[in-house]
């Protein structure tokens, strides 16, 4: 037999990676194999990819303007060939508004995730690693935030900061980091006394270096899973604030605000509130399925490591 060149798969799954890059890619590939074995997770991933695509291409895909309606001739039309998902009370095309609204939903979700997750991670790992009074102070603050119902606390913050989508994002981010801090602290406590952390201490590493380079990577996978699962909750909270008139303000095509404006006609013109509601449902479901799949693929406890 002549020596066969490695297929790409064999190269990725090699037990003897020759470079840093190959080792990292191989690890990612194994994660992908585990993730893609889960049919539902793939559906979730597909929904989220479609959601991202729609948000990116809203300008191309939309058939009408999301802001300018035809008040005279097209109020509250049912779904039909002209307006695929009907029109609302101001004669605006709901299909186009949903497409543009996906941008706002994405904006909220991404911003909340990149504000709340790092705060939670930092608070949790520092509290867990430092212990003592630092731990006590940080965790009592976390407890105070956890003691309030999320939506009520967000409402209070928005009421204080003033309505608007940016303030809604800040309010949701402020209220959603405590669970991440709890998770990160729990993970930190399980690894802080392990020999591999002791070994780095013995190399003279500073506490900051140990937390950032050795403990945080271990907390990251469970945190990513939790954030993904929380995405649905974030969308719902943002929609809830929008619905109560404290989030996105008209005429922004934010999905929660759209439901709020459609509720007056919900019995006769169901599509005005029903379509954005359905959009929220689909995207939330997508994030939940994706999160479940990521948990199976990333969770260090379920794996062989």
């Amino acid at each position: 037999m002549s020596e066969m060149p490695l297929t790409r798969r064999e190269w990725l799954l090699s037990e003897r990676p020759a470079t840093r890059r190959q080792a990292r890619l191989g690890r990612a590939y194994i994660g992908w194999l585990r993730f893609s074995a889960n049919r539902l997770a793939l559906i979730g991933l597909f929904i989220i990819l479609a959601f991202l695509l729609i948000a990116a291409l809203a300008g191309v895909l939309a058939t009408h303007s999301p802001y300018i309606g035809d008040l005279a001739g097209a109020r509250l039309l049912p779904p039909g060939p002209d307006h695929w998902l009907g029109t609302d009370d101001l004669g605006r095309d709901i299909y186009s508004r949903i497409l543009y609204g996906s941008r706002w939903t994405l904006y909220v979700v991404v911003l909340v995730a990149i504000i709340a997750a790092p705060i939670g991670l930092a608070v949790g790992t520092v509290a867990g690693y430092a212990g003592g009074w630092i731990d006590a102070v940080l965790m009592r603050i976390t407890d105070i935030f956890l003691a309030f119902p999320k939506l009520v606390l967000a409402l209070a913050f928005v009421a204080a900061l003033g309505p608007g989508i940016e303030n809604a994002i800040i309010a949701i981010a402020i209220t959603s980091w405590p669970p991440y801090a709890r998770i990160a602290r729990a993970e930190t406590l399980t690894v802080r006394n392990s020999d591999y952390i002791k070994a780095v201490q013995l190399m003279g590493a500073s506490p900051l270096r140990i937390v950032v380079r050795h403990i945080m990577p271990l907390c990251l996978s469970s945190l990513i899973v939790r954030v993904t699962l929380d995405m649905a909750g974030i969308i719902l909270t943002a929609a809830g604030l929008g619905f109560l008139g404290l989030g996105a303000q008209p005429p922004l095509p934010e999905w929660g605000a759209m439901i709020a404006s459609g509720r007056r006609f919900v019995l006769d013109q169901w599509w005005v509130a029903g379509v954005p509601g359905f959009a929220i449902l689909i995207v939330s479901l997508g994030f939940n399925l994706l999160g479940d799949g990521l948990r199976d693929a990333l969770d260090p406890r379920s794996g062989d490591q």
């Binding site: 003897r16 840093r20 080792a23 780095v200 003279g204």
Partner: protein
């Protein structure tokens, strides 16, 4: 001449439990010194206290004649390194061998990483084929070799060994012990080695100290242990216990 490692009147207290009670110890440069005793006798605690991982409540520790403060400085970690008992727990599960060996170099700002890592892997008998593997892709013996490479890459003069072979099976045990013996000869290292296996200690060490309940029972030469020239009853019982184990095999 000053000892490579000197411990005087060392107390370690965990929540009112005195794990070490006034232990004295002096290890000469280039010597291989053993610590034996049953589980809970404080031998691992002594190692950890020297390494700064367990709090010293009283007593002094000095390295090459220089007394250590409460906080260890970076220079200290270039003189003393440690190999842990469990090779499955002492390597970070998400880091490749390369990253593990890079870390001490990065912390101490030592350049020339490529060459040093390759050399360290060669020294412990692992080729460059192992360099980008994750710990879960290695066997127990290979992991322990990586741990030894990590300890040696800072070129310490003293190596603390906390039962470095007790988690390994017999044939691998011999390989790792031989490896340790080789690097000690090549670099003139000072060893302080904990084991509950008297055979390992007599093979590896010149002198040893027997410990019980956090106290030193006696110090003697390994040759005396082999020829049963022991002074204390406890040591005699320890020897009998280890013989009993051999007979029943």
């Amino acid at each position: 001449m000053s000892a490579a490692l000197a411990v005087q009147g060392l107390d370690v207290v965990f929540d009112r439990f005195r794990a070490l009670k006034g232990v004295n110890l002096a290890v000469q440069p280039g010597e291989s010194f053993g610590l034996v005793g049953e589980s809970g006798s404080g031998k691992s605690t002594l190692l950890r206290a020297i390494a700064g991982l367990a709090p010293a409540a009283a007593g002094t520790i000095s390295i090459n004649g220089k007394q250590l403060g409460h906080r260890r400085d970076k220079a200290f970690y270039r003189q003393i390194q440690m190999v842990f008992q469990d090779p499955y727990g002492s390597l970070h599960p998400r880091q490749t061998v390369d990253r593990l060996l890079q870390e001490p170099l990065a912390i101490h700002g030592i350049g020339d990483g490529e060459r040093r890592i390759a050399q360290a892997l060669d020294e412990v008998g692992l080729g460059s084929g192992f360099r980008f593997r994750y710990p879960h892709q290695l066997s127990g013996g290979q992991r322990q070799r990586v741990a030894i490479a990590r300890a040696l890459i800072l070129e310490p003069s003293i190596l603390l060994l906390d039962e470095p072979t007790s988690a390994l099976d017999a044939s691998v045990q011999a390989e790792v012990l031989n490896l340790l013996e080789e690097v000690r000869n090549a670099r003139g290292l000072t060893f302080l080695m904990v084991s509950h296996d008297l055979a390992v200690i007599t093979h590896m060490c010149g002198r040893l100290m027997v410990m019980q309940d956090g106290e030193a029972v006696e110090q003697l030469a390994a040759a005396d242990l082999v020829s049963r020239k022991v002074a204390q009853d406890y040591t005699r019982r320890l020897l009998t216990a280890s013989d009993g184990f051999v007979r029943s095999l």
